[in-house]
């Protein structure tokens, strides 16, 4: 792979309504927070250049609507994702309970090449708020059960741990993209093979 080539990493943020997806994205990209964000309708994204392992990559971070019925838009936005960020609100237990659904639905809709090893990162957001409903231990247990997903506790409001979390996200996304390219390289002639095999005896090629 040409190392000079510009690398674009596509990251999708998912999670229930109002867990702080837009806030996390804006805090990371613009280092600002306001509690005047509106509910996201449709989808939007921001980009940020970041250095990972001495390489400059562009993170393209996608923010989507949190209400489940709008996930039918998913496929269009999830396509080509390199990492999926799952977010829950540590003060709202229901947002933690839906994580399985978000993860499953992402895998169904994005249908990555290697779903078992597709990188997810979990963020427990709003740690600045009380009372806490989901302990770090419980979140970590969930992560372990899902093939050791990295977990970060964040506060988009305070900017706590946001930078670190997105650096991990970028690393995982980069590793994913590299592994996908390797996978392609293993089968360079995939398409040719299928076409040269099995000349079926169709009698339709007629003579005039």
């Amino acid at each position: 792979m040409a190392s000079r080539k510009k690398i674009l990493l596509k990251v999708i943020i998912l999670g229930d309504s109002s867990v702080g997806k837009t806030s996390l994205m804006n805090q990371y990209v613009s280092r600002k927070f306001t509690n005047q964000y509106k509910a996201t309708i449709g989808a939007d994204f921001l980009t940020k250049e970041v250095t990972v392992d001495d390489r400059t990559v562009t993170l393209q971070i996608w923010d989507t609507a949190g209400q489940e019925r709008f996930q039918s838009l998913g496929v269009a936005f999830y396509r080509g994702a390199d990492c999926c960020v799952l977010v829950f609100d540590v003060t709202a237990p229901n947002t933690f309970k839906s994580l399985d659904s978000w993860r499953d639905e992402f895998l169904i809709q994005a249908s990555p090449r290697d779903p078992e090893n597709f990188p997810f990162v979990l963020l427990g957001n709003k740690v600045d708020l009380e009372p806490r409903a989901i302990s770090a231990k419980r979140a970590q247990q969930w992560c372990q059960s899902k093939n050791n997903i990295p977990y970060f506790e964040t506060s988009a409001k305070e900017g706590l741990n946001v930078e670190q979390a997105f650096l991990a996200i970028a690393k995982n996304a980069l590793a994913q993209q590299n592994s996908t390219i390797d996978l392609y390289n293993e089968f360079p002639d995939q398409i040719k093979l299928t076409n040269t095999q099995k000349p079926s005896g169709s009698g339709d090629s007629c003579a005039c």
Partner: protein, 639 residues
């Protein structure tokens, strides 16, 4: 073939396609408009994919999933289910649809600047021919190229040859044209001479036959004779030149211009409906004299803020247009009781009841989360413990009780916010909100069918008005129009200032000059931004970003004027197809009217068509029962 069909799935579709030539079995459908679908075999364990081309007449409604496989209805929290159904087989469809297995298509030709596509079979006969009513066949040809081994004739770039990958001859075709064995094949030579002498029309059509003869001459035992080969090459070169030179430019331009829309008229915005105008329309019992006139004034200029509060109650179907003053007083009393009764229902829930009523608790939680982030920058909703936020929540919660199955969906708080700001009365705001929701209900349904339909319709309209842009979007993975989702879901609430959005909504609520006028406004904006959208090969990501960033920058008055001009262009067009008419609520004419235009594109406009309607007269675009039936059939199709 019918049986095989069950093992196929759609991989491409394009609408607005007129069947021009067809096998005898489908002659009755010639000159009907329909949709082309490419089906791909989905049998497991087959190395070679098989394909089938299908043309379906338009009166068979198409399941939305055919067009947008991307859509999947997903409920990620509770009751997970998907409705990614295929098409439901309709027994009648089988007889009407023209299905052609790709095995028998040997070549196809693009004519009339991409407006016509003709398929030929192995015996050089025309299998079928299609006219593209909106746009051209570029996208379909691109789809064919992705699925088939296709070569282009060197001299006639409009003639495409399908390499039959099943046949052993395929290997030979992979070699160059020069290596073809044609020495002893006199029939081919005679044929080339023959078509060389023929007229343009005959020879161009017959040129497709070269392919088939070349195919038939291959047997793998003979070797190329250099002289014959050169002769053939030279002949084909000359033939090609002749064809290129004899391409009748007048014919091509004529056909192309026949599809052009009439010139766009300029429209301007008028002054808003004033208090004097409004009062002058009220008779002594408080009844409005000329409702159509009032609506037309509102469409042309909106409503003056001094009477907006009153007028919106009519526009939002809270007050019947025909009501008297005393009837309205009585109505308000009844509606007030009804509202507070519904409000009491949820207000009187105990904490325990709420805990045992998960569906309710989830709706309440969503409402609370969204109310807290609705228009907080407006002074009316700003600050902590704002009483207006409480009212916003109470109305939305009461709406949940009023329409529990729909419940609360994101975007609804955006629609209510300006209404409450204007009404300053909880009960009035609720009933006006109910009226607005009745108009846009389908945007919020669980299966998102209404949004799918709108996005589809937007593309159909854009294709009619600006086929180049519409094609560009398809070619750049934007044909689903998802980048307009926010516009359509909340009627540009997120794109416009409070004053602009109120003006825009009241214009749309009049229903003038046609149904779904907001889609024409969307077309106007897209057309206005067309150069930027097609700049630098922008794709899905860039276009979505560009459209999102138009928020706060739109000149909505200008766009309404442009959209009005577009409406009259469409309405006055001689080539207005039945795929466009129902979207705007225009009467469906059947395809016969259109056919006459197709056959004689140089004829003067048909006076009996709707094209002669005066530009400002909108009375004759009211919905007919037929259109309602059509709408219903569309609606039920999404259920």
């Amino acid at each position: 073939m019918e049986d095989e069909f069950d093992d196929y799935q759609e991989c491409f579709s394009q609408e607005g396609i007129l069947l021009k030539e067809a096998p005898p079995s489908h002659e009755t459908y010639i000159d009907s408009i329909g949709i082309i679908i490419i089906h791909e075999s989905k049998k497991d364990g087959e190395d070679l994919k098989k394909f089938m081309l299908e043309w379906k007449p338009n009166d068979i409604t198409i399941d939305s999933d055919v067009q947008y496989q991307e859509w999947a209805v997903v409920n990620t929290v509770q009751k997970r289910y998907r409705t990614l159904s295929g098409t439901i087989p309709d027994p009648h469809v089988k007889f009407r649809c023209l299905k052609i297995n790709f095995d028998i298509i040997k070549s196809f030709k693009v004519q009339n600047k991409g407006r016509q596509l003709t398929f030929y079979d192995g015996s050089s006969e025309v299998l079928c021919s299609f006219l593209f009513q909106c746009g051209n066949c570029d996208v379909l040809v691109a789809a064919l190229k992705t699925h088939l081994r296709i070569g282009t004739s060197k001299r006639d770039r409009q003639l495409y040859v399908i390499y039959d990958s099943d046949s052993p001859e395929y290997q030979q075709l992979n070699k160059s044209f020069a290596a073809l064995n044609i020495k002893h094949d006199h029939s081919l030579w005679d044929f080339v001479k023959n078509i060389k002498d023929n007229s343009y029309e005959g020879s161009l059509g017959a040129f497709a036959k070269v392919t088939n003869i070349v195919f038939s001459s291959l047997d793998g035992t003979r070797y190329p004779d250099e002289i014959t080969k050169d002769d053939l090459n030279n002949s084909i070169t000359e033939l090609g030149d002749e064809i290129v030179h004899s391409m009748a430019p007048s014919l091509e331009d004529g056909v192309s211009s026949a599809f052009q829309l009439p010139p766009r008229k300029e429209f301007v915005r008028c002054n808003p409906l004033t208090e004097e105008q409004w009062d002058s329309q009220l008779n002594s019992s408080g009844q409005l004299e000329d409702v159509d006139d009032i609506k037309m004034s509102i469409f042309k200029g909106g409503v003056h803020p001094s009477i907006r509060k009153e007028v919106w109650k009519f526009l939002l179907d809270y007050y019947p247009w025909s009501s008297t003053h005393s009837e309205r007083q009585a109505l308000v009393k009844v509606k007030r009781d009804e509202y507070y009764r519904m409000k009491l229902q949820w207000k009187s829930f105990s904490k325990q009841q709420e805990n045992n009523f998960l569906d309710y608790a989830q709706r309440k939680s969503l409402v609370e989360k969204d109310v807290a982030r609705t228009d907080r920058t407006l002074e009316f909703y700003a600050g902590d413990n704002n009483i207006n936020l409480q009212t916003l929540k109470d109305i939305l919660m009461t709406y949940v009780m009023y329409n529990f199955d729909l419940g609360y969906v994101q975007g609804m708080s955006d629609l209510l916010s300006p209404i409450l700001w204007l009404m300053l009365d909880e009960c009035d705001a609720f009933w006006c909100f109910v009226g607005f929701m009745d108009k846009v209900m389908s945007n919020f349904e669980i299966d998102q069918a209404g949004m799918k339909e709108q996005l589809t319709n937007l593309h159909v309209l854009l294709n009619f008005v600006d086929p180049k842009l519409a094609n560009y979007l398809v070619e750049h993975e934007c044909g689903n129009m998802f980048f307009c989702f926010r516009w359509l879901l909340v009627w540009f609430k997120r794109e416009l200032s409070q004053e602009d959005v109120m003006r825009f909504w009241e214009v749309l609520w009049t229903g003038y000059p046609c149904q779904n006028f907001h889609l024409l406004v969307s077309v106007a904006i897209l057309e206005h931004e067309r150069n930027a959208l097609m700049e630098e090969e922008r794709g899905f990501t860039e276009i979505l970003k560009y459209i999102n960033e138009l928020s706060g920058k739109l000149d909505i008055s200008l766009m309404i004027c442009k959209a009005e001009g577009i409406f009259h262009q469409i309405n006055d067009s001689d080539y207005l197809s039945d795929s466009v008419r129902p979207i705007l609520g225009l009467p469906v004419i059947g395809t016969n009217n259109l056919d006459s235009h197709e056959q004689s594109p140089f004829e003067s406009p048909d006076i009996s068509s709707t094209g002669t309607q005066p530009c400002c007269s909108v009375e004759n675009v009211r919905i007919s029962p037929d259109e309602i039936a059509y709408e219903d059939s569309i609606g039920s199709n999404f259920l």
